[in-house]
């Protein structure tokens, strides 16, 4: 199934399972972390199936470690394929990152050096996942606190090449772009990207520290991120947009309010409230 470009959704996390089920707010879609539903059965899967009966569901993976120099975790991919067959998601996404090496997992979204070696690896991995799932996937840019001397592409340049060579779409996380621009003192280069490759946009909050910006998904989307979101809409057109909130999760109404603000940004500058 495809998602309307104006769809706005929220990341569905355990503290909101019940409220969402009871209130069934108007949302374009909900997104979950795929791994949270890798169980063979049980309550969590039932929650997701109930959500799926009410909304399109996007599966957002955090553990496939596509950019790892280790071999691809085919057992993990099998579980994702099983979940996708069960849920029939509107979108399936993963990250431009690595998280495991030498057989052990760090369970984090760690940045890759943007080199030809990493690009070749990622293109092959994305293609394998797309073949296994028999559908295109979306790849998301991650936030980072370190970047590599060895990089020969900019982040956006790497993403553009990955999309072009693998046929994947991009999940553009506007907050991550902003965080990285601040953390590395480099401008965000939306101009590297081709709008037709962008299938979804993520928005989230970050924390400003003395040293850098921490991408903790623990607050409202900041004003400069909303501004960059509007810039992305102006450049690429309206895209399905998701509000993520993962730490200090507030009541559902706060997420719905953020989602409603994203909708007003989609409607155009004349409809947008002040951030």
């Amino acid at each position: 199934m495809s998602l309307d470009s104006h769809a706005v959704g929220i990341g569905l996390r355990a503290p909101h399972y019940r409220a969402l089920d009871e209130q069934r707010p108007a949302l374009g879609f909900v997104e979950v972390h795929s791994e949270n539903f890798f169980a063979d059965g049980g309550a969590a899967l039932r929650v997701l199936e109930r959500a799926r009966a009410a909304y399109p569901v996007s599966l957002h993976g955090v553990g496939l470690s596509l950019g790892s120099a280790d071999t691809l975790a085919t057992g993990h991919l099998d579980k994702l394929a099983r979940l996708a067959a069960r849920i029939e998601p509107c979108l399936v996404s993963e990250h431009l990152c690595w998280g495991a090496i030498a057989g052990s997992h760090l369970n984090d979204l760690l940045p890759l050096p943007y080199t030809d070696e990493a690009l070749t690896l990622m293109v092959g991995r994305v293609q394998r996942v797309q073949e296994r799932l028999a559908r295109p996937i979306l790849i998301e840019n991650v936030s980072a606190y370190l970047d590599y001397r060895a990089s020969t592409y900019s982040e956006t340049g790497f993403l553009a090449e990955l999309a072009r060579r693998s046929g994947c779409q991009l999940l553009l996380d506007i907050n991550n772009l902003y965080v990285n621009a601040c953390n590395f003192g480099a401008p965000t280069r939306l101009s590297d990207l081709d709008g037709v490759t962008i299938g979804e946009i993520h928005l989230a909050g970050h924390t400003v520290t003395e040293d850098c910006l921490i991408d903790d998904h623990g607050s409202r989307v900041s004003a400069p991120v909303w501004a960059l979101y509007r810039e992305a809409i102006a450049r690429f057109g309206v895209r399905p947009t998701l509000i993520e909130w993962d730490t200090d999760i507030p009541e559902l109404a706060v997420l719905l309010d953020e989602a409603s603000f994203a909708s007003s940004c989609q409607a155009g500058p004349e409809h947008a409230r002040a951030a």
Binding site: E35, N36, F38, A39, D40, G41, G42, A43, A44, R46, V62, G63, L64, S65, S68, A69, A73, H76, W98, G99, A100, I101, A102, G103, S104, H105, L106, N107, D108, L110, P113, T115, E117, A118, L121, Y145, L146, D147, Y148, R149, A150, S151, T152, Y153, S154, T156, G157, F158, A160, E161, F184, G185, A186, P187, S191, D192, D194, D211, C212, I214
Partner: protein
């Protein structure tokens, strides 16, 4: 150092930037990614980071060290969150701070091997049993093992309970010879400590007396009833009985083993009534001819 990004040529989506030919990453040989990731991973495991690893990154050494510590904190926090979610009673028993230290020590000894953190923690109980700072809580290891069994039962396949009508096709001999099948995720834990009681009084909504007799040995039968996980305390004979059944011994063999478990001899009838009324049975396999019910 940031000039390279800014100075990149920008005619019609040129995406190249100039690499910085310096430090460990400069040669970019085939397979460099593997070396980079090994160095990064080892910097996250140990606070001490060698200069070659620092040199992988654009920032200066001090800034790189600070940023590595952000990643280090995130990695340990994720593991701690996952273990806390699967071991909530252990967290209550030792407190958040101690549990965070325990989680860090466990992670150092036993790294995660899956991109699904829900799969991490199967051996936390074994680790606790050998972890000196936990020595004053001798029951903690078995509570952790019990919580892992609860975690596994909660995510096991949805199974359908056996109806007694299905068993009615068997005559007594065939029934005694049969192997019973339990619902997915069913497990039995035997302990020298009152693990069932400890688990019970730490559940949300428990409103009984907050008392435990730490001298009592308890065994726990763990299974899923619909979407709720049950933890049932078993008498010693019943524990032997269920343990034998779960090991796929025949019903008669399990009854015989239970009989040997107590000097008084178990109440065979009570064991059978409880098994068929309450036991988490999913099916059976017979080795004798099935009675013709036509």
């Amino acid at each position: 150092m940031k000039q390279a990004l800014r100075a990149a040529a920008r005619p019609a989506r040129s995406t190249r930037v100039q690499p910085e030919l310096r430090g460990a990453g400069s040669a970019t040989p085939a397979g460099a990614l593997d070396a980079v990731q090994r160095a990064f991973a080892s910097a996250l495991r140990d606070a001490a980071t060698d200069s070659a690893t620092i040199e992988l990154f654009r920032l200066d050494g001090q800034a790189t060290a600070r940023r590595l510590s952000i990643y280090r904190g995130n990695v340990v926090a994720a593991v701690t969150r996952a273990l806390s979610a699967s071991h909530p009673v252990c967290v209550q028993l030792v407190g958040d701070e101690f549990f965070a230290g325990l989680a860090r020590a466990y992670w150092k000894s036993t790294p995660s091997i899956s991109g699904d953190l829900g799969a991490y923690g199967a051996t936390l109980g074994d680790f606790i049993a050998e972890f000196e700072p936990c020595a004053s809580l001798p029951y903690l290891a078995d509570v952790a093992r019990l919580e892992w069994a609860v975690h596994c039962a909660g995510s096991a396949s949805d199974g359908a309970r056996l109806s007694l009508a299905q068993l009615a096709v068997l005559d007594a001999a065939a029934l005694g010879d049969s192997q019973l099948e339990f619902l997915p995720g069913t497990a039995l834990l035997r302990s020298a400590h009152p693990i069932t009681r400890i688990w019970e009084i730490h559940q949300a909504g428990f409103d009984g007396a907050f008392e435990v007799d730490l001298e009592v040995a308890q065994s726990a039968l763990v299974y899923r009833d619909g979407f709720a996980v049950r933890v049932i305390g078993l008498e010693p004979a019943a524990a032997v009985f269920y343990e034998a059944l779960l090991a796929r011994h025949s019903l008669d063999e399990a009854l015989d083993r239970a009989a040997c478990a107590t000097t008084a001899g178990p109440d065979r009838r009570a064991l059978l009534v409880d098994l068929f009324q309450n036991g988490p049975l999913a099916g059976f396999a017979v080795h004798s001819p099935v009675k013709d019910i036509a």
